[in-house]
């Protein structure tokens, strides 16, 4: 008992020391003005919880891009500041504020989660901090809420789904069931597919939305089996994607083609195993892209982090390229915002995914690839849609 007390007291002390150390972190920082000061780049990414792996990949990709280019932005050294956004939308504004107001960063890079992105956009629209969204596909960020200082190097949910409609129609599908989690990203993707598919003369047999993030799909799989559609289009990512694909195969539905945005297989393909065989996906990137840029990128990434690169790493990498080009044009003068933004708007990014430019809404105009799992490997079948731009409905820019 006495001993127990001793331990707990020590734990308290140690924890106290950590807190004190943390507090020490915000002693007055010297505030230097001019181009000689370091450029501050803030990462607003998940470093804990379910999406931590994605946050890490974006960070790695970004750092790799800059290291390959001399480790400087417009000739200035870089200071990275990372904030764990915890994938918690409720804390989105506060965590953004930590970077923007607390650290006075010059640039914000992030986030993964669309909900966090919405909170972030709210803050940076007010402060005018130049922000690069390196994953979150929420259409609104480059739609109704677009702003001169907000860029995206990833995709919109619509972009990743719309091209699949053409593929489905070309393959003779008439009747398709769509399914997703009931949250913004999924609903936007499903809407994109449905828009394209009905335009091509197809029919949506049923739209199934399941509560996010529940992963019990059996009831819906049985429903799909009963509907006997020509194809099934789904939006799932991460652990949900892993589980859905496995359940789909186990339920004996493999005879019905399964389609979806590439997140259905990316990052979880190995774990899905044979269940993923034949799954058709569309995405703005594929690990197996046979281009010299991609091979060089993947090699460098593997060497630097002893890990395979993925689409998130590419998006982070391109965010790094975008800032590098912009800062290069203004020679490191991050205060010249208008020039900087103009330079970024016109940037041509030689991405591992293929070269892309930005639309007026600051979203990539990019090729969307059609991919299929064959023999446990993601195989690129071709380009589903060339230079696809998000319609950016509601964006009043440009």
């Amino acid at each position: 008992m006495e001993n127990m007390k001793g331990i707990s007291r020590r734990t308290v002390l140690r924890a106290g020391a950590v807190v004190a150390a943390g507090a020490g972190g915000f002693v007055p920082t010297r505030f230097a003005i001019g181009n000689t000061a370091k450029v501050k780049v803030g990462f607003l990414l998940p470093y804990s919880g379910t999406y931590a792996g994605l946050g890490e990949a974006v960070t790695n990709g970004f750092k790799l891009a800059l290291e390959e280019r001399g480790g400087k932005l417009g000739g200035r050294d870089i200071q990275f500041i990372a904030v764990d956004d915890e994938s918690n939308p409720a804390k989105g504004p506060e965590n953004t504020n930590k970077l923007v107001t607390g650290e006075n960063v010059d640039f914000v890079v992030g986030p993964v989660h669309s909900g966090v992105a919405m909170g972030m956009v709210k803050v940076v629209r007010e402060t005018g901090t130049i922000t690069v969204i390196a994953n979150a596909g929420a259409g609104a960020a480059t739609g109704p809420l677009c702003a001169p200082n907000i860029f995206r190097t990833s995709f919109t949910n619509w972009q990743t789904a719309y091209p699949m409609a053409k593929v489905a129609a070309e393959r003779g599908m008439k009747n398709v069931v769509t399914m997703s989690w009931k949250y913004a990203a999924g609903e936007e993707a499903v809407a994109g597919f449905e828009q394209g598919f009905t335009k091509a003369g197809g029919k949506i047999a049923k739209q199934i939305l399941v509560p996010f993030p529940q992963e019990e799909f059996q009831a819906n799989l049985t429903e799909i089996a009963a509907l006997k559609p020509d194809g099934v289009f789904v939006f799932f990512a991460g652990s949900g994607a892993l589980k859905f694909v496995k359940d789909y195969a186990a339920a004996g539905l493999k005879s019905i083609p399964l389609m979806g945005p590439g997140f259905l297989t990316d990052g979880v393909l190995k774990e899905q195993g044979a269940a993923a065989e034949g799954v058709l996906t569309t995405l703005h990137y594929a690990d197996a892209l046979d281009t010299s840029e991609n091979k060089a990128f993947r090699g460098a990434y593997r060497k630097a982090f002893s890990k395979e690169a993925d689409v998130y790493a590419v998006q982070g990498y391109d965010a790094g390229q975008l800032l590098f080009q912009g800062m290069g044009t203004v020679k490191g003068d991050s205060a010249a915002k208008a020039d900087l933004i103009a330079a970024m708007e016109t940037a041509v990014i030689k991405s591992p995914r293929g070269t892309f430019t930005l639309s007026k809404a600051h979203n990539p105009v990019q090729d969307i690839y059609l991919r299929q799992v064959k023999g446990g490997q993601e195989v690129v079948l071709g380009v589903a849609e060339k230079a696809l731009a998000d319609p950016a409905i509601g964006c009043k820019m440009g």
Partner: protein
């Protein structure tokens, strides 16, 4: 719990309050560039402290452990979002009473159903209602669904055509929130000393006996539930005003659990304890996060250490110290 605090403690708390109120004076000197951010951080913590205070009325005083309290917090935020015209400001004089009224009404309905249960069942029923609220805003198109909703322009505080306080000013908003925190604290102190508060506190200790004395506990608990709900709604209203953004996560059980931890950590039923709890938990989070990305680990250890070492929370420790040394009773 005694309604009068030992003098030493009162002095210590007043000194802390003064330090907080004067932050805009000493903050810029001590923290330079980080001042504005810290000002906002402190404002955010005070908002959570109001939420923790309101929960303490239920958990610490009336013995009603609610794991769905954040639903009222979130509802308060959403009310502001719904009441704000898209590109204009809502008037605080309309929006705030409407918000608190609506949240109190919602709390009354939930409370009416939940108060029939007790103990762990009450915890679970409140959790269930909280989750229902979460899914309501997550699934419906009413206010942006899972994306959340924006409040583009902060509410105005005007009287006879002149602006009294400009909430867009971070410093002014800091003082508004500080004022609300002090006001809610004093209000709850007054309420606790009132006949109502005495009955409520007695219910928390021994509900059956209160019934035997001729009071219907259900009614008192219901009123407390509505009052706590309305105050949580106020906190939600302020939170939504601060960043102009609301999302369903505000209503979720994680948020409810987080606030419950603040209350227990700080010391239940003491009112000032939960405020300290909010500050300790949030600042520890802030500090640990700066040191390691694995901050959840030391955070968990800190929570466990406090449970083991401080059974009555931080407030219990303070009361013990001051009770021994001070002029006490």
């Amino acid at each position: 719990m005694n309604t009068v605090l030992p003098r030493r403690l009162t002095i210590a708390l007043l000194l802390l309050l003064a330090g907080l109120a004067l932050f805009p004076a000493w903050g810029p000197l001590a923290f330079a560039a980080k001042y504005t951010f810290l000002l906002q951080k402190l404002t955010g913590i005070m908002i959570l402290a109001i939420l923790a205070l309101s929960l303490d009325l239920l958990v610490g005083v009336a013995g009603l452990v609610s794991l769905g309290h954040a639903a009222f917090f979130g509802l308060g935020g959403y009310m502001l979002a719904l009441l704000s015209p898209q590109y204009e400001a809502a008037s605080l004089w309309v929006a705030l009473p409407a918000t608190m009224g609506a949240v109190a009404l919602a709390a009354l309905v939930v409370g009416f159903l939940a108060i029939r249960t007790a103990g762990i069942y009450f915890i679970m029923v409140t959790l269930a209602f909280g989750q229902m609220g979460y899914y309501f805003f997550n699934d419906s198109k009413l206010a942006g669904g899972s994306d959340g909703a924006y409040i583009y322009v902060k509410p105005t505080v005007e009287a006879f055509g002149t602006t009294l306080v400009n909430l867009e000013s971070k410093q002014a908003f800091f003082f508004v929130v500080l004022g609300c925190l002090v006001a809610v604290y004093l209000l709850l102190r007054v309420v606790l000393a009132s006949p109502f508060g005495r009955v409520l506190a007695a219910i928390g200790v021994n509900e059956g006996r209160v019934r035997g004395l001729g009071f219907d506990p259900a009614v008192y608990k219901l009123v407390a539930f509505a009052l706590a709900g309305a105050l949580a709604g106020l906190a939600g209203f302020l939170a939504a005003t601060q960043y102009g953004f609301v999302s369903p996560a505000m209503l979720g059980w994680h948020q409810s659990g987080h606030v419950l931890v603040m209350v227990i950590l700080g010391g239940m039923g003491t009112l000032f304890g939960p405020i300290l709890g909010a500050f300790i938990l949030e600042l520890a989070h802030f500090g640990l996060e700066a040191v390691t990305e694995h901050w959840l680990l030391p955070m968990g250890m800190l929570v466990i250490a406090i449970v083991l070492a401080l059974p009555k929370g931080v407030a219990g420790l303070l009361l013990q110290w001051c009770g021994k040394k001070g002029d006490g009773e």
